[in-house]
């Protein structure tokens, strides 16, 4: 998929909502990008389209959130505070990938350990409120 430039958080959410329509239980979507690029905003847009009514907030400190979507569970993980993912840590994270669509922010620490993503999303700053959103199907 080509890069898309969004001009507001609402546009980023709408792009995520369009992606969400193609997701199925068991799918993993990694969402990478520097601080303030809109990773949580992207996940919020996708969750909303998946029928999640709970508030979608940053899981940096809590590490994992679990939401109820219209057709199943949705997991929201954040590896910002991880240096890597050890076997013990994978034991903690694994349940979040079971029977759910899983979004993973700051996925770099989980490279090679987490299940292969179906989509890799990357957000970049592009001046003012603009963001370049790249979505690659794996």
């Amino acid at each position: 998929m080509a890069d898309t430039v969004t001009s507001s958080p609402e546009e980023t959410e709408a792009l995520a909502a369009a992606l969400a329509a193609s997701l199925e239980q068991g799918d993993v979507v990694t969402v990478a990008g520097e601080l303030g690029t809109g990773k949580t905003t992207f996940v919020r847009g996708a969750c909303s389209a998946l029928g999640v009514r709970e508030r979608v907030t940053s899981p940096t400190y809590t590490i994992g959130h679990r939401y109820h979507g219209a057709d199943g569970e949705v997991s929201h993980l954040d590896l910002y505070r991880f240096a890597g993912v050890s076997a013990a840590e994978w034991g903690d994270l694994e349940p979040y990938f079971d029977d759910a669509i899983a979004f993973v922010e700051w996925p770099e620490a989980g490279e090679g350990v987490l299940p292969e993503p179906r989509y890799r999303v990357r957000l970049r700053h592009a001046g003012d409120a603009q963001r370049v959103v790249s979505i690659d199907e794996c």
């Binding site: 303030g36 709970e54 907030t57 590490i63 994992g64 505070r81 840590e89 034991g91």
Partner: protein
């Protein structure tokens, strides 16, 4: 005596609190040293770490209080919200101790635990009050009507206030814990140097994501030397914006509720500017602002208690 156990996030903690709210021991196996070493990244954020520490921490708390499990009347433990694997370690330990002694067990909500940090001696606060709970993982405004009765008036739409401090600290190249570093540096800076926007969101909710991005843009425009020269001003202005957002919402909620007593709990309650901005507020004692088990034992004094052995099937919950 109530034994409290907390393992919802990074801290493995155990405490002993008397039934009338006196802390006899409060042990937190803080990983702060490790956090500082790794700049906020936890070397291992795993329940295995809690598993290694929960036994020693409980023993240390008993030793510090000079009591044995014979003196414990009830076990209180955090049931959620948090990382499920981490919560299960504390929950299993609490069940095992309670079961082996035929004791009752009180499952405690972590957020209610933070509020209960106010119910301890020597200066206990009684409901009702308006409570701001601000930490790394949570930011809520609560109408606390009773020990077991509160209504959520507002929450963050994106980042928690404590997270805003820590990520701001990272953008400024400061150490960990970020909140304390920003607080310290802000004292040398001009809070009016930068005009960081306070997000306008409806109702009594909060939003700190845009503020973080504003700080990023401000730092990106500076060279390394300029950043060094302006770092204190940036910290002071950034902190001012966070505190203004928190205090503004507290004042609005207080006006709506008819000027109730105001209280502040959670890690951000240790921020000096916030404490100064709410001089009339009841503030969580400094050692009880960040995660600890004394607040869990405190909440356990009031929480619905399950008799032996009805709690053995109890499960943890990730989200509230």
């Amino acid at each position: 005596m109530i034994l409290g156990i907390e393992t919802s996030c990074d801290e493995t903690a155990a405490a002993l609190v008397t039934v009338d709210g006196h802390i006899r021991a409060n042990v937190v196996s803080s990983q702060a040293d490790l956090h500082a070493q790794y700049g906020g990244v936890v070397p291992e954020v795993a329940s295995r770490r809690h598993l290694e520490l929960v036994g020693p921490v409980v023993r240390e708390a008993l030793g510090e209080a000079g009591v044995t499990l014979d003196d414990v009347d009830k076990v209180a433990v955090t049931q959620g919200p948090g990382l499920v694997g981490a919560l299960l370690v504390g929950l299993a330990a609490a069940k095992a101790i309670a079961w082996s002694r035929r004791l009752p067990l009180a499952p405690v909500d972590h957020l209610r635990g933070h509020v209960a940090s106010l119910y301890l001696e020597p200066d206990p606060v009684e409901p009702p009050f308006l409570c701001l709970l601000a930490s790394g993982g949570h930011t809520l405004l609560l109408d606390v009507r009773g020990y077991e009765d509160e209504q959520v008036l507002g929450t963050t739409l994106d980042d928690a206030a404590g997270e805003a401090f820590d990520k701001g600290a990272r953008l400024l190249g400061l150490g960990y814990p970020g909140g304390r570093e920003v607080d310290r540096l802000a004292r040398d800076g001009d809070p009016a140097a930068y005009d960081f926007p306070v997000a306008q969101v409806p109702g009594l909710d909060f939003s700190f994501s845009g503020l973080k991005t504003s700080l990023l843009y401000a730092t990106r425009e500076l060279s390394a030397d300029e950043l060094d020269a302006r770092r204190a001003d940036l910290a002071a202005s950034y902190q001012r914006a966070i505190i203004r957002a928190l205090v503004g919402r507290v004042r609005e909620a207080a006006a709506q509720l008819g000027s109730p007593r105001i209280a502040v709990v959670g890690g951000v309650a240790s921020n000096s500017e916030l404490r100064a901005a709410l001089p009339d507020a009841a503030l969580a004692p400094l050692p009880l602002c960040t995660d600890n088990a004394a607040m869990i034992a405190s909440a356990g004094r009031f929480a619905a208690t399950l008799a032996y052995p009805g709690y053995l099937g109890l499960d943890a919950y990730a989200s509230r």
